[in-house]
């Protein structure tokens, strides 16, 4: 069964009188445990597609199903619930809560889910250890490097055992070494927890890491290839 199923998804943005077609009849299917990169030039519709799969934005037409949930018919509160329990996000700009420590940032999603405090603490520390941030639990984002902040973001996205993690250009603000190390971590998580990862990127290194590469141009899929081995 597909973890993500998009059927003829279209989305048009209007800027004053100009209509910009961000997605134009995109159809794709991603199964559980895949490690997928959505690539393409700026404005090709990568972020829009990720936002629609994550329930942050809605499609104008078409059908989107995530882990059995038909997003196109869900209300905002149901989408919030879906994001909370089934989707993890990693953003280009890390987007950590600046007043919370690394551990508290990771705990935050579990707090919203109603996980008891001792369990939150234990799970947050374990996942921070997994992403190589042992001993940095109490550091606030401002006290961490960009790479470390993005590791916290990855830890936050995965700690609540989501069905999919959507990462919007996660390495764009990182140097190649740090980016590679982050991708290793995400790949490890993907293999260890069988979580589906979907990236948007135009970074060649990220594309090389992906087992499947979907190439978008002008809102359409122009290439969808699975790497062997």
């Amino acid at each position: 069964m597909a973890m993500v199923q998009c059927t003829k998804v279209s989305k048009t943005y209007r800027q004053d009188t100009v209509a910009i077609k961000a997605l134009n009849g995109v159809s794709l299917s991603i199964t559980k445990g895949e490690f997928v990169a959505i690539a393409g030039p700026s404005g090709s519709g990568k972020t829009t597609l990720l936002n629609i799969i994550g329930g942050l934005d809605s499609a104008d037409s078409g059908r989107v199903v995530v882990d059995g949930n038909v997003l196109t018919t869900m209300r905002q509160s149901e989408l919030a619930q879906l994001r909370l329990h089934k989707v993890g996000f990693v953003f280009q700009a890390y987007n950590l809560i600046p007043v919370l420590s690394a551990q508290e940032n990771v705990e935050f999603v579990m707090l919203l889910q109603g996980v008891p405090s001792p369990e939150r603490r234990e799970r947050a520390r374990t996942i921070l250890d997994d992403v190589g941030l042992r001993g940095m639990y109490d550091r606030r984002p401002a006290e961490l490097s960009g790479g470390q902040q993005q590791r916290v973001a990855v830890a936050r996205s995965i700690v609540s055992d989501p069905s999919i993690v959507l990462a919007d250009e996660p390495t764009a603000n990182l140097d190649s070494k740090t980016g590679a190390s982050l991708l290793e971590i995400m790949k490890e998580m993907n293999e260890k927890k069988q979580v589906t990862f979907i990236f948007s990127t135009h970074d060649k290194m990220v594309m090389d890491y992906a087992r499947r590469l979907i190439y978008l141009r002008d809102g359409r899929i122009v290439e969808d290839k699975v790497r062997k081995g």
Partner: protein
């Protein structure tokens, strides 16, 4: 963690938080201090009224209050005295008086006064007069010609201790009665008008002069607690024939004071609202700025799965932290200020002439009332949260995609 998050968020912009915190502190402080001063003024209205000669309760002949003439005296107070002895609660004190309008004169001056015939030991226990004597001495029960006069009257009459003062009034026969007294004591009252108005002689002296053997004009009663007045007055009235005796509480005897007390309640409430409105704009402005600075962050929170209501709650918790901290400091500052002023009071003697008209004292002692403090805090807390709802709801309405794209 929500509380922790709220608390940390308010300190993200330390200067702005300190500014609005100062506004809340000053607002709460002024509410408590000025509320306490207004209560102090109101209390002194009542205390002055009660201590000057009113007491908590008075009993008169039925017609006396409408027409306070000698004919409306209680000619045989024995029944009244018996009821007082049996019906008054523990701690209550009472004193009989003859009280008539009279003309006081000496060689140079004459003026209208109120002659009050008192039982010196009983009166000393219930009114201000014994403690108010500043020159000479207080009356003794066997002072047939001794008189206590106010300092202002002494000045007006250009007289002094030991000099004569003649009182004239109408006696029970309708004849003009007069008696020469010697000034044995000068008193100082809270208000100058009292000093000019009242002269005190012994009860037997007044009864002899007015040909009113055993008769009295009134009995004044001082209770252990203000609040007992109505209940005790009703009990006494029930025991006394309504055709002959009228028993009244201080609220009925001093209607202006009662009215002012009610007006004060409203003044204090309006004052609280005015302070809050000024403060409220500051709170809305600060919270709005804090929300608009963090649009992207609210987008993130929504993306993580926070429902709009949780975001509203988060912003309200920030206001809660700010309000509670401001209220705590404001309350502490208010209590300290009241404590500092409670010993010395605020001396308004420069304004005393004008204030006396309103029955105010020369020195105002603040008095904190629990209900006022509670109301001030409730006004700040509840209305503070209500005005924060606007920015909070605004934060809850950001759509995640737009908010995350915000720079």
């Amino acid at each position: 963690m929500f509380l922790q998050l709220g608390w940390r968020n308010i300190w993200r912009n330390r200067r702005r938080t300190l500014v609005i915190l100062t506004a809340v502190v000053i607002g709460v402080w002024s509410m408590i201090l000025l509320g306490a001063l207004m209560r102090g003024i109101a209390d002194q209205f009542v205390s002055n009224g009660i201590a000057t000669l009113t007491g908590h309760i008075q009993a008169h002949h039925t017609g006396y209050r409408d027409d306070p003439v000698i004919e409306n005296s209680i000619t045989d107070p024995s029944r009244l005295e018996a009821v007082l002895t049996t019906c008054l609660p523990p701690g209550a004190l009472w004193a009989p008086r003859v009280r008539v309008n009279a003309v006081a004169s000496n060689a140079r001056h004459s003026t209208g006064v109120t002659m009050v015939g008192i039982d010196p030991p009983q009166e000393a226990a219930i009114s201000f007069i014994k403690g108010a004597v500043i020159e000479g001495r207080y009356l003794k029960p066997d002072d047939p010609y001794g008189i206590l006069v106010g300092k202002a009257l002494v000045k007006k009459f250009e007289t002094k201790l030991g000099r004569k003062l003649v009182l004239m009034s109408q006696d029970t026969e309708g004849e003009i009665a007069s008696r020469a007294f010697r000034i044995i004591g000068i008193y100082r009252a809270e208000m100058e008008v009292t000093e000019r108005q009242f002269v005190f002689v012994t009860l037997p002296a007044a009864q002899q002069m007015l040909n009113l053997p055993h008769g009295i004009s009134e009995v004044a009663i001082l209770l252990a607690e203000h609040g007992q007045a109505k209940q005790v007055a009703d009990t006494l009235q029930a025991e006394l024939p309504a055709a002959e005796y009228a028993v009244n509480t201080w609220q009925e005897l001093l209607p202006m004071v009662s009215a002012i007390m009610k007006i004060y309640d409203w003044f204090i409430f309006i004052w609280f609202l005015v302070v809050f409105i000024a403060m409220g704009f500051g709170i809305v402005n600060t919270t709005l700025m804090a929300v608009f600075e963090r649009i992207k962050e609210f987008g993130l929170l929504k993306a993580l799965g926070m429902k709009p209501w949780w975001i509203v709650k988060g912003v309200l918790i920030e206001s809660f932290c700010l309000l509670v901290l401001g209220m705590a400091i404001g309350n502490a500052a208010g209590f300290v200020s009241v404590l500092a002023l409670s010993g010395t009071g605020i001396d308004l003697s420069a304004l005393a002439a004008g204030m006396e008209y309103w029955g105010m004292s020369r020195v105002i002692y603040p008095h904190i009332l629990g209900t006022d403090v509670m109301m001030a805090n409730l006004v700040v807390f509840i209305l503070g949260l209500v005005v924060s709802l606007y920015p909070a709801v605004k934060a809850g309405r950001f759509t995640p995609v737009e908010a995350l794209a915000h720079t």
